[in-house]
Amino acid sequence: MEDLLYQFMNNFAFLILSAIGLAVIFGMMKIINLAHGEFIMLGAYIATLATKAGIPLLLSILLSVVGVGIFGLIVDRLIISRLYGRTLDSVVVTWGVSLVMQQGILILFGPSLETLSTPLGSISIGGSDYSLYRILLFVTAIVLLILLYLLFTKTTFGLHSRAAMQNAEIARSMGVNTNRIYSFTFSIGAALAGLTGALYAPTMAVSPTFGGGFLMPSFVTVIVGGANPLIGPSLSGGVLGVVSTGLDATWGTFFGRLGLLVVAILVIRIMPLGFSGLVEKLSVRKSRG
């Protein structure tokens, strides 16, 4: 039982952390960021290189959050800001960005970096060992969701960004600078991707294709979750976490991955707007009494 719970925490953290940056950008701006995996990769590189240079891990993680956030802001100002509202064009452009980033990193740093060792060691519960770091990742994922919830519901920025998400035109006519909100949102999404990369850098091999492993789970989580950048990932992360943990345990990791994709296809077929759409429909029905 503890094993299953640990696996679930592991899967849930991975799904949430890989999807959250993508979800914020897609939900708020309707931009599909195919360079999401490369943003994560960049975060892993910054964290690894900084740690190698003697900076403590916690500080290197912060450094990569800030670094990738700034990088995201530059990409937004140069490229994405010209594409607001053009969802499909954003696919092509961000794919171009991912090509440039992946190859650029390969040229600069070669095919792989020396991997950091996973910190914190492990604890033993009921006879089996569990990595403390991975449990911490689960806690981080939860804390991140709470922080984002506070950001989007309790701050002026959150209010403005939700207004821009619901109806950009009306938000603009009320004096909200939607372009600045979008820039900031993209930068936050990038910073979150950087955080994910930095957090997972000590647990797997860091190479220019580091982001590839995150792309599929992140897209599936966002698809199943729908447009809402908070309700979406938390619900779909939970459901998909249960599905993949169950399938992993019974039939192995391959069927776990396959199960994720099948669930995603079923969910789009039954409710094209994902869990966010479902929650919205329920709350509308409730308020109508």
């Binding site: 969802t87 171009g96 090509l99 992946q102 190859q103 897209f219 991955r257 994709l261 296809i265």
Partner: protein
């Protein structure tokens, strides 16, 4: 069909003339290279048809590419009779079309549209790649053929018509003739009765429905046609190299047609054709030259293309050519299409 004298049609005629004389000008190796590029053009054309004409955005053309490629391999290797290979080609294309129709039926009759079609098809691509990637081992045999996991299937027989085996130049001309037929069909289709309804769906789905067209039916039909074209591409790819691996329809391969069609000009089949051939030629020349900057240049070209010429690089060049050489004609065309283009 009325063939108009404009830059696009002149370029199309010139391209095909060039393709026909190409084997005379160069060695056998370059001809086979071009045969590969032309095989990949079908994949771009399939997306051009469903996305450019009908407005269905799909990441899943590589799925049909892969399914038909594997089907052809399993069918021909199991039958062992080389004269049955044309049947494998025809069945493979039909199966690709039928699977696309079934998928389209579920999506379009279920009201799934726009970006969600892209997301579903993206998932399917990933499912297929993940699935085929783990088919190494003896339990994954179809008849006598091992699916082979990441290594895929090797030594797949070439196409044989009667006792004539299509390899080298004859394979090249076979692909070229079919490409010409498909190309003429697509040009005709755009202005056929059904084609106009298809374009109407792209421009405004709701309005087309209210005018009495069965929108999901037409969408499924066009999606099936796209699936058949992508299947053709997959089988030609198999015939060209006599092998297929799951990476041929992985995420990267699934994205390339989208990028090519978008950057070339998605509403224009000539642009898709020309840009696909140029892309493969360019990327092969760059990677053959050993330059590590090839992918960076490619990425930058795509970014710049979408930012500054959103209607597509080649399509915009055609438009500029029309303005320059056929000024009056293009003006009247513009006036006719005014509402659409502006």
């Amino acid at each position: 069909m009325l063939v108009k004298l404009n830059t696009e049609n002149i370029v199309a005629v010139l391209i095909f003339l060039f393709f026909f004389v190409y084997p005379v000008l160069v060695d056998a190796y370059s001809v086979m290279n071009l045969a590969y590029f032309l095989s990949m053009v079908f994949l771009s054309l399939s997306l051009s048809l469903i996305w450019g004409y009908c407005g269905i955005f799909s990441f899943g053309q590589a799925v049909f590419f892969g399914i038909s490629g594997y089907f052809y391999a399993v069918f021909t290797l199991n039958s062992g009779i080389t004269t049955l290979t044309p049947l494998g080609l025809i069945l493979g294309v039909l199966i690709g079309g039928v699977i696309a129709w079934i998928l389209g039926y579920f999506m379009f009759y279920g009201g799934v549209n726009d970006v969600f079609v892209g997301l579903i098809t993206l998932c399917l691509t990933l499912v297929l790649e993940t699935f085929m990637g783990q088919t190494a081992g003896d339990q994954w045999m179809i008849g006598q053929v091992n699916l082979g996991g990441f290594n895929g299937i090797n030594s797949i027989p070439s196409l044989q018509i009667g006792s004539f085996i299509l390899t080298g130049n004859s394979f090249y001309y076979f692909v070229l003739l079919i490409l010409l037929a498909v190309f003429i069909f697509l040009k005709w289709f755009e202005f056929s009765k059904l084609g106009i309804a298809v374009v109407a769906i792209r421009e405004n789905r709701e309005r087309t429905k209210l005018l009495g067209y069965n929108v999901p039916f037409i969408q499924s039909l066009v999606f099936a046609m796209g699936g058949a074209l992508a299947s053709l591409s997959g089988i030609f790819y198999v015939l060209w190299g006599n092998y297929i691996t799951p990476s041929a329809f992985g995420l990267a391969s699934a994205t390339i047609p989208v990028v090519l069609v978008a950057a070339g000009g998605r509403k224009n089949v000539t642009a898709a054709l020309l840009f696909t051939v140029l892309y493969y030629w360019f990327s092969q020349t760059l990677s053959a030259s050993g330059s590590e900057y090839a992918l960076i240049i490619l990425g930058l070209v795509l970014i710049v293309a979408i930012l500054f010429v959103p209607n597509g690089l080649i399509a915009s060049l055609f438009h500029a050519g029309d303005q320059l050489f056929f000024r009056e004609h293009s003006k009247s065309l513009l006036r006719k299409k005014g509402a659409k283009t502006l």
